[in-house]
């Protein structure tokens, strides 16, 4: 029986069979799992990665029959130690980070137990979850691509696990898994666009260590110079149309500090919107040209956002505070996107009690400054004049530096009269103190100033070192007006940004990007950033609101019936198409020899030699040679070859000869 491919005899009747994981699947599993853990590289603590390495080596050694499976005691120890590590590492439990870490630990330790198919399947399922949860922390292009790769390798694992002869990294696997995934993509996109979106169901913060990134909710000397050493991205802004504000107008307003205790600037107590009463609306009058823009804010772990005053944010998630700040209900723990429109010309009104608050100074602090302020105010004819005098004072005597000397108790006095060098926080703080001492309501505003324009994709890149503090002064006719004392000292800081302002010594203080600063590297990194930006705005852009607009555009009116039709119709169409092909294939498994035969007959008929019922192919061809004598040889050849095919097994017709015969028929 030589034609039998393989012969097997089944003769076993023991109880339920246990399916063990074979070597191939296990190697695949190790590979997929390794890449899944790698996906958490940026987020997971270092000891977790070490654990992963240990577990992988252990499992590989088991595979090589060098070591044995850990016994129950060792496993218990591993579980206890890793739990302890999580408890010690994360102080805050009610967050997603420690939970994901626990998941990864379970994922890793389970590997030391896997020897049955069931375990392997559980491991793969957890692997899918671990992969998806990595997207909570990073949605960049690189992690997306890596994520796709991990999904691919996990799916390949499933395939190998259920196959008997398929190899993990064979061409067949690669093709099969890719086909499976690619075929799934259209259906996935459909569901992604159409599947009803609902809002958040519960709130568990993602980060457990809610370390604030960027501007914080108070300002003491030294805070900003620390912050501005970071090159980290704060947010990106793209403007509608081509209307972009001048560099000197790019003040991204975040928080307003009115309380001063001699050292630290803070928001007034109880001004946190959602813990107290409703915010009172102060009137804002804006006129003049507006800028429309879209901001993608990196996670800050703080609940406020940044905008150019005077901003109008239509998004219902945001609420405007009395001091004209924009607040969210929850801290920004993931990258968010918002639209705003700003008018540069505006006037504000303010309540008297709040103006009174903006005049308060701590008693017993900075006596020299207060004395000087009162003297200078008496000498000046107007508020404007007074401000000009102070700015002049800054301009002539002060230096702008990232490493100012430390200040003692009377911070403003020491800054104004002895150190005379500082950073935006020193200038804004001392300026507001001088204003208030002269009886002019003033407050400190923090946020970002400037940003780097990315020509490649027309958006503004604002980094942490663009963090800035300035002042707002109350004029009874204009309302709150921005005054930036730093601009008086270092106008370049406002016009060109921080990097061009700093002295060489100060530039060394900045975090190194790890790359030498060549022009082409800068251009390359800008290009890369713009690709990232496009991806992020694309990934982030589709939400509940976009979905409803999209559906409205598509359906006219969103009713449940129409939605159901939209959801079901493409599925039905796909099923019908699929079904059509498969059914046709099954009811008539058209053999290739039959195809060849039919093609030849059709060709001959087209050349004017109709077939006669019951006539063999050879006779038909013979007749054809009389009608088309010039193709005699070809017809003879085809007649002979196809006749041979018809009487041989389907498997004997090689792909090559099939194609060749087809071509010959076409030449007829």
């Amino acid at each position: 029986m030589a034609f039998f491919g393989n012969q097997k005899i089944a003769d076993s009747s023991h109880s339920k069979p246990k399916k063990y994981v074979n070597r191939q699947s296990l190697l695949g599993l190790l590979f997929a799992q390794g890449s899944a853990v790698l996906l958490h590289f940026s987020q997971a603590p270092i000891w977790l990665l070490l654990l992963a390495v240990v577990v992988f080596i252990w499992r590989l050694q088991i595979l090589r029959s060098q070591w044995s499976f850990p016994n129950r005691f060792v496993r218990l120890c591993l579980v206890i130690f890793s739990m302890a590590a999580v408890v010690l590492y994360y102080k805050e439990w009610y967050a997603l980070e420690p939970m994901v870490s626990l998941l990864i630990i379970a994922f890793l330790l389970k590997l030391l137990e896997v020897d049955q198919q069931r375990d392997a399947l559980i491991l793969i399922f957890v692997g899918y979850f671990v992969t998806a949860s990595a997207f909570l922390f990073d949605q960049g292009i690189i992690s997306t691509l890596l994520g796709i790769f991990v999904l691919w390798s996990l799916t390949a694992c499933m395939v190998v696990l259920h196959g008997s002869r398929i190899q993990y990294l064979s061409r067949r696997t690669v093709r099969m898994v890719s086909v499976l995934l690619i075929q799934s993509v259209p259906l996935m996109l459909l569901m992604l666009f159409v599947f009803p979106r609902i809002g958040a169901l519960w709130s568990v913060p993602i980060q457990s260590s809610s370390a604030v990134t960027g501007v914080s909710d108070s300002m003491s000397p030294g805070d900003f110079s620390q912050l501005t050493r970071s090159r980290k991205l704060a947010f990106r802004v793209s403007f509608d149309d081509d209307r972009i504000p001048d560099p000197s107008q790019r003040y991204w307003r975040g928080l307003v500090f009115t309380e001063f205790d001699g050292r630290r600037w803070e928001r007034p107590k109880g001004a946190n919107l959602y813990k107290g009463k409703e915010p009172d609306k102060t009137e804002f009058i804006a006129d003049g040209p507006t800028f429309n823009y879209e901001v993608i804010l990196e996670p800050t772990n703080t609940p406020w956002i940044y905008s150019i005053p005077l901003a109008e944010v239509t998004d219902k998630r945001f609420i405007r505070s009395a001091a004209n700040e924009m607040w969210l209900r929850d801290p920004v723990t993931q990258r968010i996107k918002y639209k705003a429109s700003s008018t540069l010309n505006y006037r504000t009104r303010e309540r008297d009690e709040r103006l009174k608050q903006s005049l308060m100074l701590p008693k017993g602090y900075n006596p020299r400054s207060i004395e000087m302020a009162q003297k200078w105010r008496r000498e000046s004819i107007s508020t404007e004049n007074y401000i000009k005098k102070i700015l002049n004072f800054y301009n002539q005597k002060f230096t702008y530096t990232l490493s100012p000397p430390k200040l003692g108790q009377h911070t403003v006095d020491e800054f104004l009269f002895s150190s005379q060098s500082g950073f935006c926080e020193h200038f804004s703080s001392s300026f507001v103190v001088l204003m208030r001492a002269a009886g002019i309501p003033a407050r400190v505003v923090v946020g970002y100033q400037g940003g780097k324009w990315n020509d490649a994709d027309n958006y503004l890149l604002v980094r942490q070192y663009d963090a800035h503090a300035w002042a707002e002064v109350w004029f009874s006719d204009k309302g709150w007006v921005r005054v930036d004392p730093t601009a008086a000292v270092a106008p370049n800081r406002i016009e060109q940004g921080l990097l061009d302002t700093l002295s060489v010594a100060d530039q060394d203080l900045l975090e190194h990007s790890g790359l030498p600063s060549f022009d082409w590297i800068n251009r390359l990194s800008l290009k890369w950033d713009s690709i990232n930006y496009r991806w992020q705005s694309w990934v982030l852009s589709y939400d509940q609101d976009t979905q409803s607009t999209f559906l409205k555009k598509l359906l006219g009116e969103v009713t449940s019936t129409r939605l159901a039709i939209l959801l079901i119709a493409p599925g039905m169409i796909m099923l019908i198409i699929f079904g059509f092909f498969t059914l046709r294939n099954i009811s008539k498994p058209t053999l290739r020899k039959v195809k060849l035969y039919q093609a030849l007959i059709r060709r001959l008929e087209r050349r004017g030699v109709p077939s006669v019922a019951g006539e063999p192919l050879t006779d038909h061809c013979k007749r054809a040679t009389h009608t088309i004598p010039d193709k005699k040889d070809l017809i003879h050849k085809l007649s002979h070859s196809i006749n041979t095919c018809l009487y041989s097994s389907e498997d004997d017709i090689s792909n090559h000869s099939y194609k060749e015969l087809k071509q010959l028929i076409h030449r007829l």
């Binding site: 029986m1 034609f3 039998f4 491919g5 393989n6 012969q7 097997k8 005899i9 089944a10 003769d11 009747s13 023991h14 069979p17 399947l121 399922f125 899918y128 979850f129 998806a132 949860s133 997207f135 909570l136 949605q139 994520g147 999904l151 799916t155 499933m158 395939v159 696990l161 259920h162 196959g163 008997s164 002869r165 067949r172 499976l180 995934l181 799934s184 993509v185 259209p186 259906l187 996935m188 992604l192 599947f195 958040a200 169901l201 519960w202 709130s203 993931q334 990934v539 982030l540 589709y542 939400d543 509940q544 599925g571 699929f578 498969t582 059914l583 294939n585 099954i586 498994p589 498997d651």
Partner: protein, 326 residues
């Protein structure tokens, strides 16, 4: 109680339905009208995973997580087609059956052929209660398997429906078919040892003496052989010893017929099956060169010799009033 009745009703319903749907044939082509597709246990677990992922993605409004969720959901749908394609187009036919004894196993040879050039991976074939055997058709276009089947009654044993199933490629979906093969396996009675000896028949009329086989006896001198301790002193060839040729033993043979008759009547008072079992055992006990016949009510098989003869007898035992047995 109610559960039992429901179970039985369901089973009989299923049985009848399958009978109509997939009638008994000696060859089946797997196609859309005899392949059934359902999600597997793994698939249900997968759905739970998808729900969890959807919750995660929805709660954190994360489009990438939602994409993964929907990709996996789409994967299930795509998997239906791929799993179906793993069975459809397979032609399974019975080539031969090998008999066995009741209580033991018979063997059915199957030839699995594909109708196209697709690769078939991990197709499981199993009778109920037997470990499945897994076949694949990757480069080869056909393969043959021998499946053992436990025989539970005597006669022409009809195996239950063969379950042909596959979980490939992802295990989320299982495609299966219950094929009813027209493949009767001859089932011999279960052998039971008995102390009753078969009737030995001596040939009295010596018409054909020279063609009768002989056994060791006392009548006819057959020759000399070397002496072994324990041989009777009377049979020692003393004359030969006197000639100095050493100790030799004279051997004798009898003209005795070795014909045995296995007779139904010998097992008086036993049930039909008990008698058949004992007859079966007796036949199996016979040496290859012994000559034996079989007497059953209404059936007489003349004595004969050899493997073919034995098979003939066993078959007679297997088929004796077997329809009454089911």
């Amino acid at each position: 109680m109610i559960k039992k009745i429901l179970n039985r009703t369901w089973k009989s319903f299923l049985h009848n339905w399958l009978k109509r749907r997939i009638p008994r044939q000696s060859s089946h082509l797997l196609r859309h009208d005899n392949i059934f597709i359902v999600p597997s246990k793994t698939g249900l677990g997968f759905v739970v995973l998808i729900i969890l992922l959807w919750l995660l993605g929805t709660n954190y409004q994360n489009n990438l997580i939602l994409s993964v969720t929907f990709l996996l959901l789409a994967l299930i749908v795509i998997c239906i087609h791929h799993t179906y394609a793993q069975l459809s187009g397979l032609q399974i036919s019975v080539t031969k059956t090998h008999p066995g004894f009741v209580g033991n196993k018979g063997v059915v040879d199957l030839l699995i052929k594909r109708q196209n050039l697709r690769a078939y991976e991990s197709v499981e074939l199993a009778w109920p209660g037997i470990d499945p055997i897994t076949i694949s058709l990757i480069d080869e276009s056909q393969c043959s398997v021998s499946l053992s089947v436990p025989l539970t009654y005597r006669g022409r044993f009809q195996p239950e429906r063969l379950k042909v199933s596959t979980h490939f490629p992802l295990g989320l979906i299982v495609a299966w078919s219950y094929l009813d093969f027209d493949a009767p396996v001859l089932a011999y009675p279960q052998p039971v040892t008995s102390s009753v000896q078969p009737t030995k028949q001596l040939l009295d009329d010596t018409d054909d003496v020279f063609h009768q086989p002989m056994v060791a006896g006392h009548e006819e001198f057959a020759g000399l052989r070397e002496y072994y301790p324990g041989d009777s002193l009377r049979s020692i060839d003393w004359r030969a010893m006197a000639r100095g040729q050493g100790l030799a033993t004279r051997t004798y043979e009898d003209y005795v017929s070795q014909q045995y008759w296995f007779d139904w009547q010998q097992f008086e008072g036993m049930s039909r099956e008990a008698r058949l079992s004992r007859l079966c055992d007796s036949i199996l006990q016979q040496e290859n060169d012994s000559i034996y016949g079989l007497r059953l009510p209404g059936l007489n098989i003349e004595p004969g010799q050899g493997e073919e003869h034995r098979k003939q007898l066993l078959e007679a035992l297997a088929l004796f009033e077997w329809e009454k047995n089911i």
